[in-house]
């Protein structure tokens, strides 16, 4: 990918994100009272992260089987309310070990 197109991507990302944050702060002084809109915005982060995680998580590593084991590990520790860093490192460790075992078998 050329540096110019990479810069175009980054420029668009930064501009859109900044305008979203800036406009309400400088233009609006009243609060949103529409309950539907507020509820929608409340649920957005969960929908985004759910859709981004599955099915992409299955192809995030070399072997799908290792990704499944790593994903289950992450689910388990996330349910136990461990920190973000702990869950991420635990899932990666399980993937690393599983992939070494898979390569020994194959």
């Amino acid at each position: 990918m050329s540096n110019a197109s990479l810069l175009a991507y980054i420029g668009v990302m930064a501009l859109v994100t900044y305008l979203i944050r800036l406009l309400p702060l400088v233009l609006f002084t009243k609060k949103i009272t529409n309950n539907f809109l507020r509820s929608f915005l409340y649920y957005v982060p969960y929908a985004v992260l759910g859709a981004m995680t599955v099915p992409a998580i299955f192809t995030s590593t070399t072997y799908v089987a290792a990704a499944v084991l790593g994903g289950l590990t992450a689910l388990f520790f996330a349910y136990r309310e461990k920190s973000l860093l702990f869950v991420a490192v635990a899932a990666s460790a399980v993937v690393f070990i599983s992939e070494r075992i898979i390569e020994m078998i194959l």
Binding site: I20, F40, P45, M52, A88, A91
Partner: protein, 236 residues
């Protein structure tokens, strides 16, 4: 006056900055793993200062998506900041001038907003400027270190770390889902739609950025319709 002290703000920003360092480290790693040059994730972090949006942006860039696709993905994923900025605008006191708002808006992340909103009464300009320093620094430095580490990483470790961001996403959405059945429904619906759009041959060619936008809109609209929030839940 109590809430307009630069040093106090700087102090309150330290734990956010430390947390950001590790998340940004993963972002830098992920970007380099996708084949991007080292400078680009650092520039993304320094100009965007947002986690989910940046990760989604990476996926669109890696898939060589269109500029419209990346703009829409940022719009949908970062839409929640509009609500936070709106809420923050009610919280700033008279020391905050119009030009100050242009800087505060730039680093109004989920956590910065949460800390500012948690202060009793109004917050002033000096406090806000202090508060945004460490998170910004942690975010930028974490990305640089992650990207640099990714350059020397062996393939086996890079593969294992590929799952790290998804582990992090699960750690963000699972704990609140334990308390709230509506959130469980939102997540399951978004996941089911995402698999459907990704795997059904009819939708081949639909960019991953658009898939995320469609899933998000459908799942969040459905939940807002079926499970509208009560007033108290907005403070969470």
């Amino acid at each position: 006056m109590i809430n307009n002290n630069f040093t106090k703000g700087l102090h309150d920003g330290v734990p956010i900055g430390l947390g950001y360092f590790s998340v940004a480290f993963t972002f830098g790693l992920a970007a380099v793993a996708l084949g991007l040059p080292l400078w680009s994730p650092v520039l993304i972090s320094m100009s965007n200062v947002t986690s989910a949006g940046q990760f989604a942006g990476l996926q669109v860039i890696a898939a060589c998506g269109s500029l419209l696709e990346i703009a829409l993905s940022q719009l949908i994923i970062n839409m929640r900041y509009a609500l936070m900025s709106l809420s923050l605008s009610q919280k700033l006191d008279a020391t905050v001038r119009l030009c100050d708002r242009f800087l505060i808006a730039f680093v109004n992340t989920d956590e910065v907003f949460a800390v500012a909103a948690g202060r009793p009464g109004e917050v002033g300009r000096a406090y806000m400027f202090g508060l945004i320093c460490m998170p910004y620094l942690g975010w930028a430095a974490g990305t640089l270190f992650g990207a640099a580490a990714g350059d020397f990483l062996p393939a086996s470790l890079a593969s294992a770390l590929g799952i790290a961001i998804y582990g992090m996403f699960l750690a963000i959405i699972i704990p609140p889902a334990k308390q709230n059945r509506a959130i469980v429904v939102v997540i399951l619906l978004a996941v089911a739609l995402s698999c459907l759009l990704q795997w059904l041959p009819v939708f081949v060619g639909l960019g991953s950025g658009f898939i995320i936008i469609i899933c998000t809109l459908l799942a969040a609209v459905f939940a807002a319709w079926r499970f509208p929030l009560k007033e108290a839940e907005f403070d969470e």
